[in-house]
Symmetry: C2
Subunit: 111 residues, 2 copies
């Protein structure tokens, strides 16, 4: 999960990903659309590629970059664990407070 999050946690990289949501694009077009210099776009695409977020399809001299789906599915799966939070978060807070009170009286008295 960390590699995915790290790759996305950079402003221009996130912009690139959101642009690629529209469909595959060659480097030059990404640079033009986002007002970025070509070398920086290549560098960002390298990072995204190493994180598995995009894949390349060479076509003549251009390289067409495309989003991969797996990392996003993985993110989605990861989020599962957090969907439950909504319901019982306040219950847990009180429950936790009880536990803490209990432990307080148990200092140095294991079991």
């Amino acid at each position: 999960m960390l590699p995915t999050l790290s790759a996305l946690a950079e402003p221009n990289r996130l912009r690139i990903v959101e642009l690629l949501r529209e469909g595959p694009r060659p480097v030059g077009e990404i640079a033009a659309r986002l007002q970025l210099r070509q070398p920086q776009v290549s560098k960002h695409l390298r990072v995204l590629s190493e994180a598995g977020l995009v894949e390349v399809h060479p076509s003549a001299q251009q390289r067409i970059y495309q989003l991969r789906t797996e990392p996003f599915q993985a993110l989605d799966t990861w989020l599962e664990s957090y969907r439950r939070l909504k319901e019982d978060s306040y219950d847990r807070l009180e429950e936790q407070l009880q536990v803490l009170q209990a432990q307080e009286k148990n200092h140095g008295h294991p079991e």
Copy 2:
């Protein structure tokens, strides 16, 4: 989206979030469980708090940190746009190649 991603894109912060998934926890316990020094934990919690990922509930001298649900829901919503990718990504690649071929012959001949 960026603030959330940035906050999560740090190893120890991600660990803290995953720990808090179990329920609200005071700073000291987080530090103990994750083998981190208390000041660093406080700093990370500050970042998480400013990103809206956690909220604090003071209880005596301790401060109990709890995950907030909204950022995760927002992430979920954001992911929506990427769920569609699966289906037609290869269609789009070919479609895109056509477009590119077309544009190539149109250099300097708008519409």
